[in-house]
């Protein structure tokens, strides 16, 4: 129960925080078509987060609901990777992040459709279709920006470079992931790296971009060790809910 709950929080928090960063693009996108697409992707991820957080509250026996997890945990209780909490940067950084996140998540959900946990398997089955679209959308922009103007090429390359130190954490197996992978419930993310690298290589090649060669940054998100950015994000996200702890909405 404990491991499954922790695992649901990892996958759920990744989706919740990634969705928040996409929500921040709202009314700031480069085109209306992107407003629609970014909101759609944000909604899909929010939906995944809700199912996963609800599952966590069942699995750990506390019966906490999705909102208890989203609004009344402190920063150190969040299990997302640092990749998703990094501030949006420019559109190039945001698209690079969405590509990396979606490529990782698609590989993950694809394996997870075979999970012995029926809820995880169902979330994954639904998520695979959604995240395929997310990845294709992000890849489309990475290619157009990479192979667009010299300015957009530079920004895309800079965005990738800024992002790349955060990539490794996605593939570092946490003990919980390791145990659940052995039990046929979860996925060991290190087994996804080859597929991810191949997908990225293909897209970056088409985009005339170089894969950055930078050292990985400090990880720790899966253990609740986050960057300063998450605190600011949660302050905003949780503000209304916490101002009215007795309220129902």
């Amino acid at each position: 129960g404990g491991d499954l709950a922790a695992y649901c929080l990892m996958l759920g928090d990744d989706a919740l925080i990634a969705s928040h960063r996409l929500q921040e693009w709202c009314t700031h996108g480069p085109e209306l078509e992107d407003e629609v697409a970014l909101a759609n992707i944000g909604l899909d991820l929010l939906g995944q987060a809700r199912l996963l957080l609800t599952r966590a509250g069942k699995a750990d026996g506390t019966d906490r609901d999705e909102d208890a997890f989203a609004y009344f945990r402190a920063e150190g209780g969040f299990r997302n990777t640092r990749l998703v909490e990094a501030p949006n940067g420019d559109f190039a950084f945001s698209m690079a992040r969405l590509l990396v996140f979606s490529a990782h998540r698609l590989a993950l959900l694809d394996r997870l459709t075979d999970s012995r946990d029926p809820v995880l398997a169902a979330v994954a089955a639904k998520g695979v279709k959604e995240v395929t679209y997310h990845r294709d959308y992000a890849a489309g922009w990475v290619v157009r920006l990479g192979d667009g103007t010299s300015l957009s090429h530079q920004r895309m390359q800079d965005g990738l470079a800024a992002l790349w130190p955060l990539v490794d954490e996605l593939f570092q197996p946490h003990p919980v992931e390791h145990r659940l992978a052995c039990a046929g419930v979860g996925v060991d993310p290190s087994t996804l790296r080859a597929e991810f690298d191949a997908v990225l290589a293909q897209i970056l090649d088409k985009a005339t971009l170089n894969r950055p060669t930078v050292d990985p940054a400090q990880a720790g998100g899966r253990d609740g060790q986050h960057s300063e950015a998450l605190g600011t994000l949660l302050t905003e996200m949780q503000s209304v809910a916490r101002a009215h702890p007795e309220a129902t909405w």
Partner: protein, 312 residues
């Protein structure tokens, strides 16, 4: 020649048939329609801001999903409407530039601030409610692409309206602080919502021609009365008061009488001096300008690869 076309146009209108993009239309009709559709499109896009302001702070994940979906729908409405305007020869980029340069207007209602989460509900209830009163007759607009866009938009808007009202119902069953928020938001939005129907018929300049062209179906005052009559029982069911001491049922008219609208405020807001006009346009302008390099990259890419296809 033109006179035969004019006759055909007049007959189409008279027979309640629809004008389509291929049809000849008088210049005045084209200009009026483009202005009407563009203002409507701009309103959808600017209208994303007051609610978008609360997405990241929505107090439950369910409300967050509802709000995000709603704001996304508004972007979608903007897209259909700009597409409808393009069927009349307008250019979307040009329309956007008209908006951010202040050459074209959008609904004044979006120049009021959203100060608490109750505003999200009240916008759904009153602002979308007023919009629906205005727009349902437009589903019978003589201009086909606009009429069809309105059918889809009205369907989604009434969904939004119900969701807004449901949020308020839930809040009214919550804490006293929540009830106070709902009442306070109702107080702030009621009069601006009444202004959404435009100036009184006596001062409304374009109405006659627009009615003749069947791109407007009811007068401003008729629609405003319909909205008031619809809202009073809804307010009662919700348990909020409407901030108008003169509001009462008039059994002779079989309508509600209501107080005088502050048309001086209306004109101030319409002419660009409402509480949020500057911010709303500034945010749209910034998004447009900051997105320029992205759009340029997309064009450059498309051009490069179109060329390649020709060459290989």
């Amino acid at each position: 020649m033109t006179s035969a076309l004019q006759e055909y146009f007049d007959a189409t209108i008279a027979n309640e048939q629809r004008i389509e993009p291929r049809d000849w239309v008088p210049d005045g009709y084209r200009k009026t329609m483009v202005r009407q559709i563009a203002q409507h499109a701009h309103s959808e896009i600017i209208g994303m801001q007051p609610e978008g302001n609360w997405i990241t702070r929505a107090p439950s994940l369910r409300r967050k999903a509802i709000l995000l979906a709603k704001v996304q729908d508004e972007a979608g409405h903007g897209l259909y409407l700009y597409a409808a305007a393009e069927t009349l020869g307008a250019d979307r980029t040009e329309l956007t530039e008209n908006l951010i340069a202040g050459r074209q207007k959008y609904s004044s209602i979006f120049n009021y601030p959203t100060l608490t989460y109750a505003d999200v509900g009240v916008i759904g209830w009153l602002v979308d409610g007023a919009a629906i009163c205005n727009q349902v007759p437009l589903c019978r607009s003589s201009y086909g692409p606009y009429a069809r866009a309105m059918i889809r938009i009205c369907k989604e808007e009434s969904f939004h309206q119900r969701q807004g009202y449901e949020l308020l119902m839930t809040m009214m069953r919550g804490t006293q602080a929540q009830r106070d928020m709902v009442q306070e938001a109702t107080n702030r939005w009621w009069w601006p919502a009444l202004m959404m129907f435009g100036p009184p018929d006596a001062d409304s300049t374009n109405t006659a021609q627009s009615m003749a062209w069947k791109i407007k179906r009811h007068t401003n005052d008729e629609l405003r009365q319909r909205f008031v009559d619809m809202s009073v029982p809804q307010a009662r069911a919700l348990g909020v008061s409407l901030p108008d001491p003169q509001l009462r049922w008039n059994p002779e008219r079989e309508h509600h009488d209501f107080g005088d609208i502050d048309w001086v405020e209306f004109k101030r807001v319409v002419s660009g001096h409402g509480p949020c006009n500057a911010e709303r346009v500034a945010i749209r302008k910034a998004a447009h300008e900051e997105g320029a390099w992205v759009r340029e990259a997309a064009s450059a890419y498309a051009e490069k690869h179109a060329r390649e296809e020709v060459m290989t």
